[in-house]
């Protein structure tokens, strides 16, 4: 890997864009960073010239939705499949009416942002038959070791199994998104590697990528495999308050 690239360089984003399946499902523990990662994955697909869609299938949390990034997604030419009620004050767990575009339109590269925990994964019941029949997907487990209920490999795997049971699908890879919000440093990321590796070993799932805030990329280059830079979406930046 070259070391003189800027954090935004396309070549660094390509490892995902060049090796992805048609459908990428993003699931994980509540508050593990799924929405933010989904938006960034979709942006990297769009940047590499793919016809991209992102589906917000979160029925758990009425806040921090994919729709928060509507402007960015629109500018990148990404189709947003989202409930009409997302980001309205109507607090109901509604699914988007055009959600079947994910399985019906095979010209699309899709990123599916699924709600947290096993409760969130239930929505896959309706899409699963089409996704499995086509068999061109990967299902990613987002992990953050610094979240309270997934602090060790055992509890992370417990959450993982609950999600798999609810989704009736098996994960294919791990996204290590271990971070402490604004207090994340390179050391915080490095300290989480053994945790991610332990989960990987015990589940036989590969670590698909380690996601880090863009400004930490340079420091971590060469120390962590499959780094993927995250540009934090507006609603995830709290420093202004």
């Amino acid at each position: 890997m070259k070391t003189n690239e800027t954090p935004n360089s396309v070549s660094r984003i390509l490892p995902f864009a060049s090796s992805h399946k048609r459908i990428t499902l993003v699931l994980g523990h509540y508050g593990s960073g799924k929405t933010n990662i989904s938006v960034n994955l979709a942006l990297s697909l769009a940047k590499s010239g793919e016809k991209t869609a992102i589906a917000d299938l979160d029925i758990v949390n009425p806040y921090f939705r994919t729709k928060d990034s509507l402007t960015v997604l629109r500018e990148a030419g990404i189709r947003l499949i989202s409930s009409e009620y997302a980001n309205t004050n109507l607090d109901i767990p509604a699914l988007p009416q055009d959600m079947y575009a994910v399985t019906d339109d095979r010209s699309l590269s899709c990123v599916l942002d699924i709600g947290g925990d096993d409760r969130g994964a239930l929505v896959l019941g309706r899409l699963r038959p089409g996704i499995v029949a086509e068999n061109d997907y990967e299902m990613l487990l987002v992990l953050n070791q610094y979240r309270p209920l997934t602090a060790d490999a055992g509890s992370a795997i417990e959450v993982m199994r609950e999600i798999e049971a609810a989704a009736n699908m098996r994960f294919t890879g791990i996204v290590n998104n271990s971070n402490l919000g604004a207090e994340t440093t390179a050391k915080i990321v490095l300290d989480s590697l053994s945790f991610a590796e332990e989960v990987s070993k015990k589940t036989s799932l590969p670590i698909r990528m380690t996601t880090v805030r863009e400004d930490l990329m340079q420091e971590l280059e060469g120390k962590v495999g499959s780094l993927f830079p995250l540009c934090l979406q507006k609603n995830f930046i709290e420093s202004k308050i």
Binding site: G31, N89, D91, Y146, P148, L180, A182, E183, I241
Partner: protein, 355 residues
């Protein structure tokens, strides 16, 4: 593993309650506090505790009454409309002098309102909310760390004074994620000789009740209760002062409004305006002293609130109407921006001097 964990404010409340020895949580889901219940549902069964999703808010608060009567640390949580439903039970807790923790992660109202943050339950929290002469100890966190620490403090104060303590947060505090250090000290719960723990044929029955039909007796109970409230006022008032020493403009703000205001104060200082912030941490008892002191050297106090102006009445009382008190607010789920607060500071600064 780092010393800190990344938590939502609601999760921090739940985890802190468990660390404070609470093993009985009774709730009913409502946005934006549902994570408290969800967290308890996951954790309580693993540590031998009780998580119970009640059939209603009214049922939940009365279950708290039951566990508190037995001398154990119990809590419930809800958001604004749900707290109104709990009002009767909270009054009963006060009437029976029971310690308990009630969490209100406020949303915009009145009525069902919306699901975005608000501070418009200030009157309800500090003036009672239920019927009768009583108070709750009302704690207002302004960070996820404080959501955790004040939860522990709430249990401790509730036990010490046999009162209900309320965490008065808002949707932003409940939903925002910040790193939290959970390695704080927890005082063990005190002995509760009044609790209904069974006589074992060794003592007289303890009776926990809020019914008192003899007016002379009920009057005595009320007076004794207010003597205890006086002790709380003397000993437990908490607030933070920020750049108040030489301030000419003071901001009064709690919770999320205080975070916004602190940024505005820093910006005002950069522009040469001597602004400062008084942040009440206990809303009841209200910190009168820093406002009384401020009234001797500031020319205006601006109350920054996510309501149509509720705390402003306490600010006026505390500053004894010696100085102009104005309101800077947003409502309905909106949050004042640092720029809006800064504008209010600049405007106040340009308004003549002290009379």
């Amino acid at each position: 593993m780092a010393d800190k964990v990344l938590m939502k404010g609601n999760e921090a409340i739940a985890e802190a309650a468990i660390r404070a020895g609470c093993r009985h949580y009774f709730g009913y889901p409502i946005t934006p506090q549902t994570e408290v219940a969800a967290y308890m549902a996951k954790r309580m069964p693993k540590i031998g505790g009780t998580f119970l999703q009640a059939e209603s808010e009214i049922a939940a608060i009365n279950m708290v009454y039951g566990v508190a009567s037995a001398g154990l640390r119990a809590m419930t949580s809800s958001s604004s409309p749900g707290i109104s439903l709990k009002g009767e039970g909270i009054s009963y807790l006060a009437g029976a002098d029971l310690p308990a923790l009630v969490v209100n992660v406020q949303r915009g109202g009145p009525g069902l309102g919306g699901i975005q943050p608000s501070q418009s339950d200030y009157f309800q929290a500090t003036r009672g909310g239920g019927h009768g002469d009583y108070h709750m100890i009302v704690l207002a966190p302004s960070s996820v760390q404080e959501m955790a620490e004040l939860t522990v403090k709430g249990f401790e104060l509730a036990d010490q004074y046999r009162m209900t303590a309320m965490i008065l947060a808002d949707g932003t505090m409940g939903q925002m994620m910040e790193p939290v250090d959970l390695n704080f000290d927890v005082k063990p719960a005190p002995e509760k000789p009044w609790a209904t723990t069974g006589t074992k044929m060794q003592r007289k029955h303890n009776i926990v009740n809020s019914l008192s039909l003899v007016p002379e007796e009920l009057e005595k109970l009320n007076i004794a209760r207010f003597e205890r409230y006086d002790l709380v006022k003397q000993n437990e008032t908490m607030y933070e002062e920020f750049m108040m020493d030489d301030a000419e403009i003071a901001i009064a703000a709690f919770g999320i409004a205080a975070r916004v205001s602190k940024n505005a104060v820093k910006e005002a200082r950069k522009r040469g305006i001597k602004a400062g912030l008084i942040r009440p941490i206990t809303l009841w008892p209200f910190p009168d002293a820093p406002f009384k002191k401020a009234a001797t050297h500031v020319k205006e106090i601006i109350s920054v609130e996510l309501s149509m102006g509720q705390m402003i009445e306490d600010v006026r009382l505390a500053s004894e109407c010696k100085v102009k008190v104005s309101l800077c607010n947003r409502v309905g789920g909106m949050i004042p921006s640092p720029e809006q607060v800064l504008d209010a500071i600049v405007k106040a600064s340009n308004n003549g001097g002290r009379e």
